[in-house]
């Protein structure tokens, strides 16, 4: 199948008609270049919005308590509401079907030390599910587990920066950490995409905290994620019914905004998702527009090339070239030019994006980039379009009578 002579013919034709080849190639390269850059920037903008939520699970609901702002059921305003383990159990019992992961949170501030290094950190006493809510990534060891809860073990999972601060160059995993005078064994070290503050946290079991710091049943916050198969409206309703039930349970006025606060990510996510849909449409239109411009460009050039080569085609036919030979020489040339320059446009486009990333990231465009598969399919589309655009006039040219082509001076 591989016909060396045919390729020799084509490369000679390309080489000897450089202006023509460069012009055709430039169109394709430029279209792919624009496609890559525009798409990359649009993606970057999208990433910026995604990143705002990447830290926590996007289907989270946070439930916090405060003081009542309204009198209700014979009780004065200003009553402090505090969740306890039984409230946690109640939510779990009542709404379990809609819950994916669930955890309580108790906030503590501690002075943590290891040997001579001491520093102040936030401690969160949590359930094992907390890991999924916070998208915590284990670097070493494990997270808090059920056993810890049951046995109220003195174990801690520390952030990467805590390890860096206190253990310097040594490994923290397996060593002990002193939290306000109590020794905890470090069973895990984690990282988190949410930034430095998230990596300066220490997690301990919720039951341990309740036992050691006050010996009570209080919890500061209940966090959960709703089942991911809920759509936004279902999720918003779910959050609202939790809020309503808890308000009734604590005898809080329905319109009290402070006593029980339910923060539902579904509400924010709904807006972000709508924004992303609009972005996706814009990206699609940009991509399609650029591709169409490229297709029109390459089509015009192919028509021009065939027109310019009419006489040559006539000569070749008079010398015994079959219609197929004529079509293949023109088409293969088109394919080679579009492939090479399409690839060139791709490389330059990706290069420009890389190079411009620092500048773009200062302007709220995060990690601008484009999937290789996407840009390759765009290039293939353009090659296919160039081929088709070349095929029709080439086919026509292969059919014209040589005598007509030869008269074309």
């Amino acid at each position: 199948m591989f016909d060396l002579d045919l390729w020799r013919e084509i490369f000679q034709s390309m080489n000897k008609n450089r202006t023509r080849s460069i012009l055709a190639g430039f169109t394709v390269a430029f279209a792919i270049l624009l496609f890559t850059i525009l798409f990359g920037i649009a993606n970057g903008l999208n990433n910026t919005f995604k990143e705002a939520f990447v830290d926590d699970a996007i289907n989270s609901i946070f439930i916090r308590s405060g003081t009542t702002s309204k009198a209700s059921k014979g009780m004065q305003a200003g009553r402090r509401i505090r969740f306890e383990n039984k409230d946690y159990a109640y939510v779990k019992e009542e709404f379990g079907d809609g819950i994916e992961y669930m955890t309580a949170r108790i906030y503590l501030n501690v002075a943590a030390s290891f040997r001579n290094e001491t520093n102040n950190y936030s401690v969160r006493a949590v359930h094992p599910d907390h890991k999924y809510l916070e998208n915590t990534i284990m670097k070493e060891g494990r997270y808090i587990n059920q056993n810890d809860l049951k046995n109220k073990t003195k174990v801690a999972v520390i952030g990467r920066l805590v390890e860096e601060d206190l253990y310097l160059t040594t490994k923290a995993y397996g060593k002990y950490i002193n939290l306000n005078g109590i020794q905890y064994k470090i069973v895990g070290v984690f990282t988190d995409d949410g930034g430095d503050n998230e990596e300066r946290l220490i997690y301990i079991p919720v039951t341990t905290s309740q036992l050691l710091y006050g010996n009570n049943d209080y919890i500061d916050q209940i966090n959960l994620t709703y089942q991911p198969d809920m759509n936004f409206n279902e999720a918003i309703d779910f959050g609202n019914s939790i809020e309503k039930n808890l308000k009734e349970r604590f005898l809080v006025d329905k319109s009290d905004q402070r006593a029980i606060r339910v923060q539902n990510m579904a509400e924010a996510n709904k807006n972000v998702t709508q924004f992303q849909t609009v972005m996706a449409i814009i990206i699609f239109i940009i991509g399609l527009g650029t591709l169409i411009a490229g297709i029109v460009g390459i089509s015009n050039i192919m028509i021009f090339i065939v027109k310019e080569r009419t006489k040559e085609i006539g000569i070749r036919k008079a010398l015994g070239a079959s219609p197929r030979a004529i079509v293949s020489i023109i088409l293969l040339e088109a394919i080679i030019i579009t492939t090479i320059t399409g690839y060139l446009g791709l490389v330059i486009g990706v290069g420009v994006l890389e190079w411009a990333t620092p500048v773009l990231e200062e302007n709220f465009i995060t990690n601008p980039g484009i999937k290789t598969s996407l840009v390759i399919s765009a290039t293939i589309t353009l090659i296919a379009a160039g081929t088709l655009a070349g095929y029709l006039p080439a086919k026509k040219a292969s059919k014209i009578k040589p005598i007509v082509a030869l008269r074309n001076d």
């Binding site: 034709s13 292969s398 030869l406």
Partner: protein, 234 residues
């Protein structure tokens, strides 16, 4: 070698049609050197195109080397053109981005010869027209006479049965024209059958037979005393 009988051809012009060839009959035998003459509009170019399988005819018969040329597919026509015919044009029709050697080798490429064989044959024919030293020059670097000699070498390369020349000297000055004719006569002496369309009497006189066309019919078909180009004075 070539037999044409009762050949008709007309071109549609709007609603009516223009009857260009109105029953042409003639035969060409091997080794002949025939001039086809006629004023413009006489149908001589149309006749040449039909003989060259560059154009189709409406009715009549045309056989070339025993093969009936009628209703050929494009592919078949291409094969016959390549196998039977060598073309020489008034405007040379060399491919401008190919050098002399590559131009001569082109019909051999379409014959499917190997690159090495093509090069060898093309060199042989270039040497025959005395342009081996110019093998690697582009057409734009050659004079008119040299271009036509490259075109002749190209027409000869595929070793055709019939050499067809359409006003081969039309774009050349008289001295160069006679040089070209001298070369064509030499080829004819070696046995090549040659058909030349011309409107120049002195060129026609250098052939062995002259066919005159007028208004689509043959007016005159006679054997002439060949004037040798080498002895003709400018």
């Amino acid at each position: 070698m070539l037999k044409i009988s009762n050949l008709h051809k007309s071109y549609p012009i709007g609603d009516s049609s223009l009857h260009v060839l109105k029953g042409i009959d003639f035969e060409v035998n091997n080794g002949e050197m025939v001039a086809i003459m006629g004023s413009s509009g006489s149908g001589k170019s149309t006749l040449l195109n039909i003989i060259g399988i560059l154009d189709e005819y409406d009715s009549g018969e045309y056989t070339l080397d025993g093969v009936a040329i009628k209703d050929l597919s494009e592919k078949k026509a291409a094969v016959y053109r390549n196998k039977f015919l060598g073309f020489i044009f008034q405007s040379f029709n060399l491919i401008n981005y190919k050098n002399a050697l590559e131009n001569v080798a082109l019909p051999l490429y379409y014959q499917g010869l190997k690159r090495k064989d093509r090069q060898e044959k093309a060199k042989f024919h270039l040497e025959k027209v005395g342009l081996l030293d110019w093998a690697h020059h582009l057409p734009s670097e050659l004079s008119g006479g040299q271009k036509q000699r490259v075109a002749i070498a190209r027409a000869l390369a595929a070793n055709p049965k019939l050499l067809m020349a359409d006003e081969p000297t039309g774009a050349l000055d008289t001295t160069t024209s006679y040089e070209i004719m001298e070369f064509l006569q030499q080829l004819n002496d070696e046995g090549k059958t040659i058909l030349i369309v011309t409107h120049e009497e002195d060129i026609a006189a250098m052939c062995k037979r002259v066919i005159r066309l007028r208004d689509g019919v043959i007016m005159e078909d006679k054997i002439v005393e060949q004037v040798r180009a080498a002895t003709a004075h400018v």
